[in-house]
């Protein structure tokens, strides 16, 4: 059975109050600068060999979080630390060639396997590119490495000279995973790796990710909007809402005892493929839509849709606090012991 690895013992990746802001120009009506807080003070640790699931609805900043960790979008404040073999490196302070060096250890799998592969390059070229950039091996070595990679992700090495459009969606995502693995990274950021795939191939790709984790001891930051998939694959799960982490807990705990009203609503909104359960279970239907992340908001971001909203929620922004050993939640319904004490 799965064991929860103590996260503080071997954190490979530490993210501390990370902020990503996008300037959206001036508002025509008010003349004020509109700042979109895509990621607003996110902190977490990712242990070696661990999978941390990040769930949330579209626009909650989960994809931006992955891109910010990889420095593909500029970071406004906060720190990202990568610890390998006892050495820690501040990812957010690297520039130029040392940033490239970081990318050997930190890689990403993209959501859309149709858009994330250059249509004019063969699979061999796509997989060899990271090796060429980091000057690994001779031409002949690289050919061998590419074929090994293809075998590892379950592709036929005979297809090395084919182009991405000649593969199906699931196979393309395998190419994307192979490209991320080419540099033998420690941490893989998976940005919705299966949501663009057909239902019947999803499980194939997810199993591949599980196999690779076992074989290579990879750590995953697994971003998805499908809570059922995240439940199976993750050791711990974080729930994001409008750029903030509202709940972070071990997978068992979060799904069994969701604390935050948003998590509760999210879980109850997911249909279960079983007519009896689906028709009898109690559902929490949230009213309204996601507010715009560029709106200024003093209190809790979820206050506008929360069923258990209190006066305090609209005034004070709750912070993510430890409820028990592996359960953190940002909600005024659960005042932390430390404050009461």
């Amino acid at each position: 059975m799965k064991s929860i690895i103590s996260t503080s013992a071997f954190p490979v990746l530490q993210v501390d109050s990370l902020r990503v802001l996008f300037d959206q120009g001036r508002d025509r009506a008010t003349g004020k600068r509109r700042i979109l807080r895509a990621v607003d003070g996110i902190s977490f640790e990712l242990g070696k060999g661990e999978t941390l699931g990040i769930v949330g609805e579209s626009g909650c900043g989960k994809s931006t979080l992955a891109r910010a960790i990889l420095r593909l979008v500029p970071i406004a404040s906060g720190s990202v630390t990568l610890s390998l073999d006892g050495k820690s490196t501040r990812v957010d302070q690297q520039e130029g060639s040392s940033l490239r060096g970081i990318r050997r250890h930190l890689q990403m799998v993209f959501q859309d396997p149709y858009a994330s592969l250059n249509p004019r390059m063969t699979v061999g070229d796509i997989l060899a590119e990271p090796l060429i950039i980091f000057n690994i091996g001779s031409r002949k070595d690289r050919m061998g490495m590419v074929q090994d990679l293809m075998k590892e992700v379950g592709l036929d090495p005979k297809h090395v000279l084919r182009y991405p459009h000649e593969f199906s969606g699931g196979q393309r995502q395998r190419i994307g995973i192979a490209r991320a693995l080419a540099l033998n990274p420690q941490v893989l950021l998976c940005d919705e790796p299966v949501s663009a795939l057909d239902v019947s191939v999803r499980s194939q790709v997810l199993n591949l990710l599980l196999d690779l984790q076992e074989r290579r001891g990879l750590s995953y930051l697994f971003i998805a909007h499908d809570l059922a998939v995240v439940k199976r694959i993750s050791h711990r799960v974080g729930v994001m809402y409008l750029g903030k982490m509202v709940e972070l807990a071990s997978s068992d705990d979060l799904y069994a005892h969701p604390q935050h009203p948003y998590t509760q609503a999210l879980l109850s909104a997911i249909p279960v493929p079983d007519p009896e359960i689906e028709r009898s279970r109690e559902r929490i239907i949230l009213s309204g839509d996601l507010p715009s992340p560029s709106d200024e908001c003093v209190g809790c971001a979820f206050a506008s849709r929360c069923r258990q909203v209190m006066a305090r929620c609209r005034e004070v922004m709750p912070i993510l606090e430890r409820k028990d050993a592996d359960h953190q939640v940002a909600c005024h319904l659960y005042p932390s012991e430390s404050i009461q004490a």
Partner: protein, 438 residues
Amino acid sequence: MSSSPFPARFRRPWNEHPLSLPANVLWVFTVLLATGVGLLSDFSILAWLAVVGMTIAATGVTWVVRSTLDSPNVSSKPSDVMKGTSLWKDALRRWRRHQMATASSVVLLTIALACASQHALIHLVPIAMNQRTIDFAPDSFFSLHIDHTRTHEGHTYQPPSSRHWFGTDSLGRDLFARTLFGGGISFLVGLVGTLVSVAIGVSWGATAGYAGGRIDTWMMRAVDILYGLPFLFLVILIMTLVNGLGTIASKAEQRYAEIEMNRAQGDLAQVAALEEKITAEERTALWMTRLFPPIVVVFIAIGLVSWLTMARITRGQVLSLREREFVTAARAIGAGPLRIIFLHIVPNLLGPVIVYSTLTIPEIMLSEAFLSFIGLGISEPSCSWGTLASEGLAGINVIKPRWWLMFYPAAALSISLFCLNFIGDGLRDALDPKGDRR
């Protein structure tokens, strides 16, 4: 080659094919014979027929070889790697299905080859003192159908006949030869003008698109302003300035000729006096006209004003490609900006650029024809389809309708433009498989 009319048992790979060697040999001999016939002697029409016959034979054999060629991945030797079909190959397959485009390319290629061979033959026979060094008999094929400069007093304004296929002009020059020569010039202007416009447009647009932000804004505002200026007005302005320079330069040239004459006679005082007279203005004009002969000026003038749309197209493409996920993916594996531009953006940019270029060539040929028509651009004794048509127009009158003067060059121009447009259309369909594949 699924459409091969031959049964599968005739299929052979290239290196085992019984006809592959004969096809190559036939082609080499055809080229040798053609050069020989063109160069050496006062040849009869029979020699030319032989060349044509050999070309047809070589084409036929090549066609047979191509249709019975076995593709390498199903050849007798099993290969351990399967070849993929790139998007380019895919596009080529789709383009072959486009019948108008394929037919057009054959027609255009024929016209272009004819023009090119006329130019080649003319330049192979050197001219000294306005006289060809090899004297061809007046009735030879070369004199009648290739030499576009040979005048003949007795044969002015001949209508089309078996002797002069397209008739003759006011100086008795053969119009067939002149149409071929003019076509060469027109194609050259079209190609070089397009190259100039692609070079400027693509680099301008790509820089603006990739840099983004303020640089992009300013660079594209410049394009907008240039768009606002009337295009032909600009060209006409440039051409008029150049023609003015040409007048000054020719005056200067006369003076230099006089100086040379005096120097040869030993009249040094006169030389000095004449040299005094040459102004700095005349000197620059002469230098500039030597640097930029009129035809080059036409290239530059047209290219300079036709890069704007290319720049806009390129910028739009780069902007959208820059946001594509595979570019982000390339950044994630540590690729630098140069690698991203040349490996990830440019190859995906080529499709639209190629399509637009094929549509720019006819546009530029047409502007050149128009410029020549109104008396700017190419000047005598050189000619283009535009100048030929304008001369033809002058030659037309009600009493003696010398229609051939206008008809042949204009028809050649129209057919070429038609073909180019069809090819461009075919390429656009082929390179932009909407919904065909993602």
